[in-house]
Symmetry: D2
Subunit: 282 residues, 4 copies
């Protein structure tokens, strides 16, 4: 399979959207040389955003992980997380009251910044749900699965409310050889048992791309096909970018390994505009 | 179940998005009195659009069906169809070449207006697919299912290409007691057999609402929750509107009959902001 | 909805298969008067078996719960559990080696009685899987979900092996108002993430009914339609019995409440031969 | 990938179950040399049956296709088709009345031999369904899809009845490079639209294997693991055989091509006991 040089590819575009995990970083940390890529974009006047399916940490905290490793180009306002879309939903649809959540106290930040009261599932009381207005799945950590997943099911059986899933991913890598279930996977389990329809935020959904598109448009007018979406996963980054009308580049530093890229493209019918080894520019 | 008067509800909003079938019309034609509703909106400075999962006819043709029945308020530019989103996709992603389609010659209008060459599946040749760039599902009529659905499967096995489904609906009503399979249902069948991932346009997907939101914003600034989405179907109109951040009104003149509304809301967890008998304003 | 007297119904048959939960017992214990039903069957020479989706306890232990409450008619050999089918699978297909399991030590009984070595997921070592021949989902209790469900996923990614789910149920009632996720639900989650095909045992699968049918045939010849399957759940007991060729009776003491029985039959298309209030015979 | 010699493998067993398409025949006709295989089985006293997902032709007609090509060893009583299981269901569950069907007049043979009246969907009248007791999906040919698939949907909306699918396959090969939708695929489409639960017969379901097992047991006692199921498809033949407790052999003359066998086994987790090039014995 022939790959293209990312440097030559990116010069054709006015803006780039990056997936984070598998593109800018992996289980070892940041991909070496990534600082050159951002410098190249800045030098050439190409706008950029990070689009990440993550509701476990705030954009500020996500930006800190880049800054602490010497990448100053990734500031808070460059980061668009699925958690931000969930927060926007809550702002529009749930104006007051209490929102019950699954996740760490830290992830509950997204709800609190909407001005709503948060209540962990652990602390919720099945007999006192009158003030509860919605349920949000934020993070796979921060609670005892045996207890709290069953408790969520019974909360949703006792009171009808909107359910928001702040990350569509069903799994994520924890190291080179192991993965873990993401909060989106746990939400699928609860949805199967309860038989209700949940509201999910994250790639490949259009809302993620729309949010980023609005940011670039606020600075400079551009057509959708003047933007490049870069990702390592066909079923989220590439199909999502394609559907939204963006050009897309698949990189081989994460989920899609070089040996299997051609086969996966053929079997899924998800066709990136470009294939590049990585986003590193030397 | 207590319903609200649509007149009082709609006065709280700056714009209204209407589903067409089950809201403005049904198997008998336009719902009587609908002209008063549009006059009321105009008199009160409330903007409005029709959002319809339909790729069988152009917006011009769809507007004609209203005009010919005396509703002049529904002009071409008031209509946003899922076919228009499919067309936009083709404009951004498929710049030249031939697109194969399932549907009537009439539905192929959406592709032709993108400047692409159209080829019905019937006329396609399995041995000459080099120039074919994409496959589009447009309409359930205009072709022999026995032959052409199988032919689509073999076209997609012979050449990897993007597949666009221009209407997410799986069925539609043909009269009071009968329904028919919509093109979205036929696309599901082909996708199951071929194992590839298709790109679908239509409610409840966010892109449909985004397109309409951009239209109203071009005329007047407004927040998402200053817009009301009105529909008869929880799983397309209401969940889609909710997820996008709009307020929503379920009407009982179509898919959701009065007796079952409460039960369907409880079992699906899809909760409209309002429930109204109909959109008729006396 | 007109129901029939179970006494009159059952007299037409040579054997009866009972579901346990929702038919013979519920969250309060045995359904009062159930002893008369068994006495009636014995007096009239009608054979009977209990078919239960359960791999958490051995048939001996399940029989004990009846005996301890004064029902001596339900002996060990009258009980056919989905765990027994999983055990039979292991006997035929996994002749030696180690089987890893999720569940209580008690549930591991089913594997040990096959002559295989058992290893809880907690005690398994990802680096030492050479001797492991299969993975079995037995019970939702006895392990820490946060740790061990993720560990199962990584075991199955490291070594290809058969995966057996010893109970198809995705949830079960824990009291009048609450349910819990059953091991079949957890298996669905793992299967979704890992993308492999698991082997499931339990109703509505034919193997459950076949096993019971072989037991009655060993004593007395009879046609399938001379046997009555009695259950409270359309999607397991009734469709399973129907498909196997048995007559079926839906009872309203469990999962299907009287108010909803007609609606559920109409919407599912699963039609029992008879509907009875309960199996109690006065 | 190392394959084993089928001759050596089969000598370990008392009986063999063969899938037909991809094992004994392909798009060109019978696999050359297959007559030696049957002679070898006869010479060595190994019993054999053909298990085929097919309801388009009667066992007599299926046997004729072998006989006419010189294979006399495949007699009518050696053939077990999914259509036979559907017929058995009708005999037990639908004692009289009319059964509506999709398929050729020829395929309706399976219903007629149950003593029931048959009515093609084309000839059915939506207003006169009182005498109709069940609907059977038999074959993808013999009717106009555009009309009759929609008509089936409306028949099932007008009257609640059992629906039987006499072949689980969703597609079948028509020549070296093309496939077609099988009746099981059309049934999936109708089931999705109508939201009801259909009853399906065919591999990998246990009932298919049970029926064959009863035939061999009637002649000679044997354990399940003394029988070898031979097939070309992991998701029907091999997983079905494994689950029933049989040993299994994957052959590479059909659906699973040599290049992909290892990958498909690894990704599906469906592990055959043996892998053989073909069933041909020289």
């Amino acid at each position: 399979m022939k790959t293209k040089d990312f440097k030559k590819v990116v010069l054709k575009y006015k803006a780039v959207f990056f997936d984070a995990y598998g593109v800018l970083k992996n289980y070892k940390g940041l991909i070496p040389g990534i600082e050159n890529t951002f410098q190249f974009l800045i030098d050439n006047g190409i706008d950029y955003y990070i689009l990440t399916n993550d509701a476990s940490r705030s954009p500020e905290q996500l930006a800190d992980t880049y800054r602490s490793r010497g990448i100053t180009a990734v500031t808070t306002e460059r980061i668009i997380s699925s958690g931000m879309l969930a927060r926007e939903y809550l702002q529009y649809k749930i104006k007051h009251g209490t929102v019950v959540y699954l996740g760490t106290k830290n992830s509950a930040h997204y709800i609190e910044s909407s001005g709503l009261t948060t209540l962990s599932v652990e602390d919720a009381n099945l007999e006192e749900l009158d003030h509860v207005r919605a349920m949000v799945f934020l993070d796979d950590e921060g609670f005892v699965w045996n207890n709290d997943i069953n408790k969520v099911i019974n909360i949703l059986r006792h009171k009808n409310m909107s359910v928001i899933v702040a990350n569509t991913d069903i799994s994520y890598p924890v190291n080179k050889h192991e993965i873990a279930i993401a909060i989106g996977g746990l939400a699928d389990l609860v949805e199967e048992i309860i038989g209700k329809v949940f509201i999910r935020f994250g790639k490949p959904d259009a809302q993620m791309f729309m949010y980023a598109y609005e940011q670039v448009l606020a600075k400079s007018p551009m057509r959708k096909d003047e933007i490049l979406m870069v990702g390592d996963t066909l079923k989220t980054d590439i199909i999502g970018g394609n559907k939204f009308g963006l050009d897309t580049a698949l990189v081989l530093t994460g989920n899609t390994i070089p040996d299997q890229a051609s086969m996966k493209i053929a079997s899924s019918g998800i066709i990136p505009t470009h294939i590049c080894e990585s986003v590193v520019i030397n």
